[in-house]
Symmetry: C2
């Protein structure tokens, strides 16, 4: 189970192993994990190394410890993606609905002033513009416009953007994704939103803008999403 010769740290191997068992259902929410000393003996590693693995998973809220009792699988694991923010896809699945996307357009366009500012690039620099409608049970829920620096993120296809943008950036381009800032705003639907969301005039929409950065702080992505206010709410989970 644990390869001491591997260049991957032991504590990290153990982390992945525990996470995998949680995902597979071998460890169920509420269950007690084997004790630290038990793990150490079983895997023939130091208890402190076990603690390091468990501490990380506690910080990520997969587990929680109770002194004198043990370590337990956390009941509900929220955030899979960006901290605490439920993604549209996950959220819809959680509500028992089937999420889907409809691509409207995928092209390279020159960045307008405001966008160029957000992405910290020169005006008219090339950016990928991806427009799509997000649906649940084939009902339009949101209009999403994604803008990505073309000079920074090269070789994008509509397919990558729709399925695995972040993996592509980290695994294929070798870049590291950092933090993001997100902004919520309420507005009245404009013409484009009326059209794609199929809602009546003067409907309120929940506008969400996100600027995502690389590890070094370089912004590479701006996402502007307009959600139907009558059908969607953002749920957020916050820590102290």
């Amino acid at each position: 189970m644990i390869d001491k010769q591997s260049p991957i740290p032991i504590y990290h191997q153990l982390e992945e192993q525990i996470k995998s068992k949680i995902e597979k259902g071998e460890y169920k929410p509420g269950d007690a994990l084997p004790s630290e000393r038990e793990y150490a003996e079983q895997l023939n590693i130091s208890r402190m190394t076990v603690r390091q693995a468990i501490t990380n998973l506690v910080n990520e809220r997969y587990l929680h410890r109770i002194k004198g009792k043990g370590t337990f699988i956390t009941e509900k694991k929220f955030e899979q993606n960006l901290n605490g923010l439920t993604s549209f896809t996950e959220d819809m699945k959680a509500r028992g609905m089937t999420p889907s996307n409809k691509l409207i357009s995928f092209e390279i366009v020159p960045a307008k002033k405001n966008l160029a500012n957000h992405l910290n690039i020169a005006e008219h620099s090339p950016v990928y513009e991806v427009k799509r409608v997000r649906l649940a049970e084939d009902i339009p829920m949101a209009l999403e416009r994604t803008y990505i620096s073309a000079n920074l993120i090269k070789g994008l296809t509509d397919n990558i953007v729709q399925s695995s943008l972040y993996q592509y950036i980290e695994n294929d381009l070798g870049l590291k994704i950092g933090r993001a800032s997100q902004l919520f705003e309420a507005t009245i639907a404009n013409d484009e939103e009326l059209e794609y969301l199929n809602i009546p005039e003067n409907s309120p929409v929940l506008l969400m803008k996100r600027i995502t950065q690389l590890d070094d702080g370089t912004p590479f992505e701006v996402v502007k999403s307009s959600y139907r206010a009558d059908r969607y709410q953002f749920m957020l989970d916050l820590e102290r």
Copy 2:
């Protein structure tokens, strides 16, 4: 500086000491911290104990480590309060505006069904209801309604609620505050919102609901805030 006999763990004492130096400006953003070995020798404690303190501060983003170089004070420390979410007061100050509150009412009322559900109490149980308008430069920005379990949080006054609710709960009642869930929604202003926010009919408002829990998961507070959409946006900072 460090009291080994104290019941407060050494690593925690060191954490507080470092945080205090950052706040006082003795350590400035971008500065390198003394090395782990240096700290250990200086304070006559183990390097591993120093690491534990620093690791916690790294997790809280006060510090960041660079292998081979050192540990540095993080440039910008975001979230002071709940993770990444800018509070109204802080946000307004950051924009150079003067925030203020106007108390509309402070009373104990029986919980309605929906509220009772959120607070996990029986219907008609007593709850504090605090209504106030939040202003910036004396212009109404939001209508805020706070509901707090009266059986759980005793002895509240309007003054406490307005100034230091969380400190009161933790320091005076000895309870520990845990996580919170937050929800964003766009609606059209209702009559109450029209009145207090002084906006025209059919104006969109950004509705924010927050449920705050104690450390053990017991919900104790529900906050429902209606923000003028034309004057306020929620800014959020997300981690990976």
